[in-house]
């Protein structure tokens, strides 16, 4: 009991003293996952919206595929990206393996289907309701896509926050393509896994607290945003 309490106290003191190791790891996590979410949104949101609005053969197949890819195991994405980036792989010459950009690529691939699936659902609902009126107003399909994305912006921002949560708490992909190198590619989840196995539970718990706090904060933000948007725009 006392050992447990001591570990916990150590963890808290790491946090209140703003330990530089903790700060460094948390900072890298936020940068990598933040970049992945921005890239993922730039690709996923228009993709999902196009999937809702455009008509083309194979549309339902692609829709099922995107929805299915939402549950993609992160280790699988990690392996695939690893194969592409490893020395003998097609993109090996760029030397990206075991660098933060590789981690951004892997997490982007994880986030894109999530963003696309949510955007497709949200935009499709709006499209069902507004299709005839938009056609009546002679909106081209691309103008309809951008108009509906803008109209659903609050729901989509919530999707963005969900994506950030998924990226930050993911461990498999960053472990494989980042390699968990100290002061280079170590992020919160990989550090927690490593420190726990090494027996440095204080650092693991400190990082765990930060991670949980961040996830809760994201959810609170999403919740607040929804309410604000409903009150402001109806």
């Amino acid at each position: 009991m006392s050992a447990f309490a001591a570990t916990f106290t150590d963890a808290v003191s790491l946090l209140v003293t703003f330990d530089h190791r903790v700060a460094e790891i948390v900072g890298l996590s936020l940068r990598v996952s933040g970049a992945a979410v921005v890239l993922g949104a730039l690709i996923g949101l228009p993709l999902g919206a196009c999937l809702a609005v455009a008509r083309f053969p194979g549309k339902s197949v692609l829709t099922v595929l995107v929805n299915g890819l939402m549950g993609l195991p992160s280790v699988v994405v990690g392996v695939v990206v690893y194969l592409f980036l490893s020395r003998s792989g097609p993109l090996g010459e760029f030397g990206l393996l075991y660098t933060p950009p590789a981690m951004v690529v892997a997490q982007t691939l994880l986030v894109v289907p999530l963003m696309a699936a949510i955007a497709r659902q949200v935009v499709d609902d709006a499209w069902q309701r507004y299709e005839e009126e938009l056609r009546m107003l002679r909106f081209s399909w691309w103008r309809s896509v951008t108009t509906l994305l803008h109209d659903c912006r609050h729901s989509l921002l919530v999707a963005l926050l969900a994506g950030l949560g998924r990226a930050m708490s993911e461990v498999g992909a960053v472990m494989i393509v980042g390699g968990n190198i100290d002061r280079a590619t170590r992020v919160m989840t990989t550090a927690i896994a490593l420190e726990t196995s090494k027996g440095d539970l204080a650092l693991a718990i400190a990082l765990g607290i930060v991670l949980i706090f961040l996830i809760l904060a994201l959810n609170a933000l999403a919740f607040g945003l929804r309410h604000w948007a409903i009150r402001r725009f109806g």
């Binding site: 005839e132 056609r135 009546m136 107003l137 002679r138 909106f139 103008r143 109209d151 725009f233």
Partner: protein, 246 residues
């Protein structure tokens, strides 16, 4: 102001629409002259909304054709036809942005769009609400907004689907005032309503629909004083039996 003046008169010949085997429009014949307000009456399900949707090309007819203008050109409607839906689209943005929406595809630059939309809001009496969220307007205000949006695109032919269905008497009067003004502006209007009083107040002529056909097309006064068909007579008396409706 008008994009295309050559779409009227409009002739509809043998127009049918059978989405699932059942004829929703059944060989409909109709001629619309170049000006005035035509009111469309008829029981629920008689095909009034479908007729409007067919005219603006939102449904693909199973048979028949629509001929546009003096030359009687066939095919899809060109620019200049606008329809107002019973539950108009309200985007999550300001009243002003919603009104200006229809000018975007016309390539009008943004400041000009805002200027024209603002002038339109003045005209329909919503100028003080310009910055409010469109979704927070009342039903009657939303109808007026949608009417303003359609009007701003300068349609030659404007189709209105029950624009006063859920409005109180003064909101109804307000919409009717705007409709008259749009007509005076030179726009041909076809308006569906269940309000017989409205038909006499607004209409130049009346189309009475039953079972996907135009049963009668006559001047308003004649329709109410001497209806030609048994269906119309019963409809006016509020006694149209179910089996004669569809």
């Amino acid at each position: 102001m008008h994009i295309d003046d050559a779409i009227l008169p409009l002739r509809i010949r043998g127009l049918s629409y059978r989405p699932n085997g059942r004829a929703v429009l059944a060989g409909l014949e109709l001629e619309l002259g170049i000006e005035g307000i035509t009111l469309v009456l008829g029981a629920n399900g008689s095909g009034k909304t479908m007729l409007l949707r067919a005219i603006c090309g939102l449904i693909e007819p199973s048979a028949g054709r629509i001929e546009w203008g003096p030359a009687g050109e066939g095919g899809r409607p060109r620019a200049g036809v606008m329809m107002l839906f019973q539950h108009p689209m309200m985007l999550r943005s300001s009243v002003l942005d919603n009104v200006a929406l229809g000018l975007r595809p016309l390539g009008v630059p943004a400041p000009e769009r805002r200027r024209r939309a603002m002038a339109m809001l003045e005209r329909i009496g919503l100028a003080d609400r310009a910055g409010d969220s469109a979704r927070q307007l009342s039903g009657g205000e939303q109808q007026r907004l949608a009417l303003a949006r359609a009007w701003l695109t300068g349609p030659r032919l404007l189709l209105l689907d029950e624009p006063t269905a859920s409005l109180d008497p003064s909101a109804t009067a307000e919409v009717e005032r705007i409709v008259r003004e749009i007509r005076t502006d030179g726009t041909r209007i076809v308006m569906v309503t269940h309000n017989l009083g409205q038909a006499t107040r607004l209409g130049d002529d009346v189309i009475f629909m039953a079972a996907g056909r135009v049963c009668e097309h006559t001047p308003v006064q004649r329709f109410f004083s001497r209806p030609q068909s048994e269906e119309a007579r019963l409809f006016i008396q509020g006694e149209l039996p179910w089996h004669m409706r569809f």
